[in-house]
């Protein structure tokens, strides 16, 4: 297994990339996605893999500096572990060979012998100029590694100038075992980046997009919003606070002196490689008008019920309907199970008309460990959920 080195992605892939796989990382122009290959390269080197880098757009030293400045790692500390074919290789081939198909043959020979002589485990190929020089079929034929006995994992970075259908075609052609596309959408904030798993050959994973952030040279997958909702006083605020490394609530005391949420609870947590924002909704029906806004752009929902108060389940069913209408993956939390209660799993499922595959977990929201387990379950659902 080759790890991508990006937590969250390795988990999604079931641990990493199997041997001899071909991986395509396709980027839209202008998307800050170069770190994907760089991260995998750095991770592979740190695990003592021998790597070949084929980068016709740069020089060996400029590439080294680029990785040093973005990842803070010198990839040449073990020179025997990294072989580079760079712009000078391309210039030599162009200078010495006039014929197009012979140039292509020469590239293949050079790459093949670099792999064989050095027993290369992973080949990182920057595809852009191959595509331009030799067309799609020619460039793809370079990746076949014909003549190499021990086939390396091949990781290809591609600048996609042709749009979505091009990637769909490549993904469905079965040439690659794994296809990621990296795009940015322009909303109020520019260049909101996200990664989509377009195709994967070795495990069942629905086509899935996950936003990501880059901080200090690290890619952090980002779940922009998980909603925590439920009837009044079921424990939403308690849940969000105990899930979060850092959070805020907008609770106000009512006239009896107990507190209730008037806008929302907001928390942040880092879990399973994802940065996650958690939004708790207010519980009282008078706040219903703001719920659609809170549900917007959510990627998953936690529905909390109070097991000691079966009479609140009607309200829970209303909220479940809203979640289902928003087409969100959901986990159901039966809270306050530290107190005496009589409601059972099957009864809850029946009253709420909850689908068989929706998880019900009995917890106490006052315990952070319980709460973390629920958020982990939901992240799992989000990864596997076909949107």
């Amino acid at each position: 297994m080759l790890r991508t080195g990006i937590s969250g992605i390795d988990e999604m892939l079931g641990g990493g990339i199997p041997g001899e796989s071909k991986v395509l990382v396709s980027m839209e122009p202008g998307v800050d996605g170069g770190l994907f290959m760089a991260t995998t390269l750095v991770d592979a080197l740190s695990r003592d893999r021998t790597c070949l880098v084929v980068i016709p757009t740069s020089t060996r030293d400029a590439f080294r500096e680029e990785i040093l400045s973005t990842k803070g790692v010198d990839i040449h500390t073990r020179p025997d572990r990294i072989i580079t074919l760079d712009s000078r290789t391309r210039e030599d081939i162009r200078k010495n060979i006039r014929d197009h198909s012979q140039r292509l043959a020469e590239w293949k020979r050079v790459i093949c012998s670099a792999c064989t002589e050095n027993n290369v485990d992973v080949a990182f190929i920057y595809f852009d100029l191959f595509y331009e020089d030799f067309g799609l079929d020619g460039a793809l034929s370079v990746l076949e590694m014909t003549g190499v006995d021990k086939k390396p994992v091949v990781v290809v970075e591609h600048l996609n100038l042709e749009g979505d259908t091009f990637i769909e075609d490549l993904a469905s052609a079965g040439l690659f075992d794994l296809v990621f596309s990296i795009k940015a959408s322009y909303t109020g904030v520019p260049f909101f980046n996200f990664l989509t798993v377009e195709h994967i050959s070795w495990t069942q994973l629905p086509r899935r997009s996950v936003p990501y952030l880059i901080s200090d040279g690290t890619i952090r997958l980002y779940i922009p919003k998980i909603i925590v909702t439920g009837p009044p006083a079921s424990g939403k605020t308690t849940f969000v606070n105990n899930a979060s490394e850092y959070g805020i609530s907008t609770d106000r005391n009512d006239f009896r002196g107990s507190s209730t949420t008037v806008a929302m609870d907001l928390g942040w947590v880092h879990l399973k490689g994802f940065d996650i924002s958690i939004y708790g909704t207010p519980g009282k029906p008078r706040f219903d008008p703001i719920l659609p806004q809170l549900f917007k752009c959510a990627m998953g929902a936690v529905l909390i019920i109070d097991v000691t108060r079966p009479e609140t389940l009607d309200r829970a069913r209303q909220l479940l309907t809203m979640i289902q209408q928003a087409l969100l993956p959901v986990v159901l939390v039966a809270n306050k199970s530290d107190l005496p209660y009589t409601l059972g799993k099957e009864e809850i499922r029946r009253i709420l008309n909850l689908p068989e595959d929706t998880i019900i977990t009995f917890i106490s929201a006052t315990r952070s460990s319980d709460v973390s387990c629920v958020v982990e379950d939901l992240v799992e659902q989000i990864i596997m959920f076909p949107y």
Binding site: G34, S58, E66, L159
Partner: protein, 234 residues
């Protein structure tokens, strides 16, 4: 809609400037001062930023030749595809970012985005953002070099994405291209991506420009020269 003062009197008098989202191609003959028209249009005014993609000159030289005011200096970023060839160890800063070669369109795109993000986040200069979205002038000097490294079809697709992005960002795009080095088809493909084309010609010692694509302005040849770094019409 934000209006960018162009620094070209005919345009600013007739229209107040250029609408955000405009992409301007400057077609120049060899050995003319045409690329300076690009620098004139792309200099940042108050509250604005500019990003220059330099494919021929190292950033250190540009900073020197531009004669920027302190404000302009702190509001101008350079993407430099030249320096790394000689000094691979050159490291990115907020205002100068390096790409190993003009053939590296992926790198150009990434560095451009990083710079734009820094501007939007308010990390580019110490001043508070006065206008949101921050007005950005983006100048590619020059398309001629990019076309020497990459096929015109590829560059067309790349620029298509960039010009679209600039429109969404409400930015201004400025591009200079040597019209004598490329065939008609290349010129016409590049023109297709633009709203405004400024054509430059040279007679013995006089340079002329003609502005095409702005309905309020007739595309007559106008003599111009540079005085104290300003573009002056005769």
């Amino acid at each position: 809609m934000y209006i960018y003062k162009s620094g070209i009197k005919v345009i600013d008098d007739a229209l107040g400037g250029l609408e955000s989202g405009t992409n301007i191609l400057i077609l120049v003959p060899s050995l003319s001062s045409g690329d300076r028209i690009g620098y004139t249009i792309s200099k940042p005014k108050n509250g604005e930023f500019s990003i220059i993609l330099s494919t021929d000159q190292p950033s250190a030289d540009i900073e020197e030749t531009l004669g920027l005011t302190p404000f302009q200096r702190t509001h101008t970023g350079i993407i430099d595809t030249v320096t790394k060839l000689m000094s691979p160890e050159a490291a990115d800063s907020v205002r100068v970012k390096y790409v190993p070669s003009a053939s590296d369109l992926t790198g150009i795109g990434i560095k451009f985005t990083r710079m734009v993000e820094e501007i939007f986040r308010g990390d580019f200069s110490e001043d508070e953002l006065e206008i949101f979205p921050p007005p950005i002038r983006f100048y590619i000097n020059s398309l001629s070099t990019l076309l020497m490294y990459r096929r015109v079809e590829v560059l067309y697709q790349f620029l298509h994405v960039i010009t679209t992005k600039l429109k969404k960002m409400e930015a201004l795009g400025v591009y200079v291209l040597n019209k004598e080095s490329f065939d008609e088809r290349t010129l016409s493909l590049m023109k297709q991506l633009m709203n405004v084309v400024i054509d430059v010609k040279k007679d013995s010692n006089q340079e002329f420009l003609s502005i095409n694509g702005l309905s309020a302005i007739t595309p007559d040849w106008i003599a111009y020269q540079f005085e104290d770094g300003n573009l002056v019409m005769k």
